[in-house]
């Protein structure tokens, strides 16, 4: 008599198990795996000291920053974004010829399964940050010839001092940007160039006095950088 209900329960649990396993809990993944290094909600302390202590970039506005498809791919196969890591100062090795990046000191990012990456990416896309952090539609798509874009990025506005717009071409203290268009939303690219300190109040990127034409030109050049192997 008593065995039937128990068997029924076991059967019911067994039937439910694959469904539960298939639907990875994105929020739980963020809390367990991402939160130790990344802020998932806006920190109350945004001081320079806190910037020095944090282990990874803030993700509380990931939903207005990243392209979901890129997140899904990257979380399964995390590749270098910041040549000197975050924060660059902690991964510098002094040599007689000058400073170099101490590659051995760079931490490795955890790798997620496909199901977990999809769930985590969906949960990250729900993190929009405070209103008006990124103005929707501020980016105006226009055709910027790659040569003109590169000239402004590399020579006229000095972005290449810290960023690479082509593999092995440019500085190392900022994120690589030769696949910026794959990784980042155009409105975010525009908003970040315009005022990096709106996102990170003490970040080591200058806020340049760029005209609207310049901002659109640079944002369009970067939004068009789609290929990691772009020349």
């Amino acid at each position: 008599m008593g065995r039937i209900p128990i068997l029924l329960c076991v059967a019911a649990l067994t039937a439910a198990a694959p469904a539960l396993a298939g639907a990875a809990d994105g929020d739980a993944i963020l809390k367990q795996q991402c939160a130790p290094c990344h802020a998932l909600s806006k920190p109350s302390d945004l001081s320079l000291e806190r910037l020095w202590k944090r282990k990874g970039p803030d993700l509380y506005y990931a939903g207005v920053k990243f392209n979901q498809q890129w997140l899904v791919q990257w979380l399964q196969n995390p590749a270098r974004i910041r040549p000197a890591g975050e924060f660059y100062f902690k991964h510098v090795k002094m040599t007689p010829g000058g400073d170099i990046v101490d590659i051995a000191a760079l931490p490795r990012h955890p790798r997620l399964s496909k199901a977990d990456a999809e769930a985590a990416a969906a949960a990250l896309m729900a993190l929009k940050g405070p209103d008006a952090m990124v103005s929707k539609g501020a980016f105006k798509k226009q055709a910027v010839p790659a040569l003109i874009g590169a000239m402004f990025f590399e020579k006229l506005r000095g972005c290449a001092a810290c960023h690479m717009d082509k593999p092995n071409s440019g500085g190392l203290s900022g994120p690589e940007l030769y696949d910026a268009g794959k990784r980042l939303q155009p409105d975010y690219i525009y908003a970040y160039i315009k005022a990096p300190q709106r996102f990170d109040p003490h970040i080591w990127m200058p806020q340049l006095d760029l005209s609207e034409t310049d901002l659109q030109r640079l944002a369009n050049y970067l939004a068009a950088r789609q290929d990691a192997a772009a020349k």
Partner: protein, 135 residues
């Protein structure tokens, strides 16, 4: 004899005490000096080291890819030739404002005027040249 001996010992003790006191004052002055620069050094390490280097010699991790090398802040001769006002202007408005490279960006919207003044003084402290060295 005895009086002379006592006088000698007294003199020795006195000079030893003065030496110890002097060393203590020196150490405290150095500690005060370190504390004075600590906050500004942190700013330098955050914003300037990426190009000007850990050794402040213009050989930061970004320098290798640059067509124009960042200023060597440890060079007393080169730095001594630059007036304070030009250092402040370069940090605030960028290299172009002082007819130098665009690769030196303007930090005036990231750092306060006081922080920039402090950085200019710190750079003098690093090069041991110019106004800071005369103090």
């Amino acid at each position: 004899m005895v009086t002379q001996y006592i006088r000698k010992v007294g003199l020795f003790v006195l000079s030893a005490s003065l030496l110890v006191a002097g060393l203590q004052i020196g150490a405290r002055a150095r500690a005060d000096d370190d504390a004075k620069w600590a906050a500004t050094e942190k700013l330098y390490n955050t914003y300037c080291v990426q190009c000007h280097g850990m050794n402040r010699n213009g050989k930061g991790i970004n320098a290798k890819s640059m067509p124009v090398q960042p200023r060597d802040h440890s060079d007393p001769k080169g730095m001594g030739a630059i007036p304070d006002s030009e250092i402040v202007k370069a940090i605030t408005y960028g290299g172009l404002s002082v007819n130098k490279s665009v690769l030196m960006p303007a930090w005036g919207k990231v750092l306060s005027a006081q922080q920039i003044q402090d950085l200019a003084a710190y750079i003098r402290h690093v090069c041991q040249c110019g106004a800071e060295a005369k103090h």
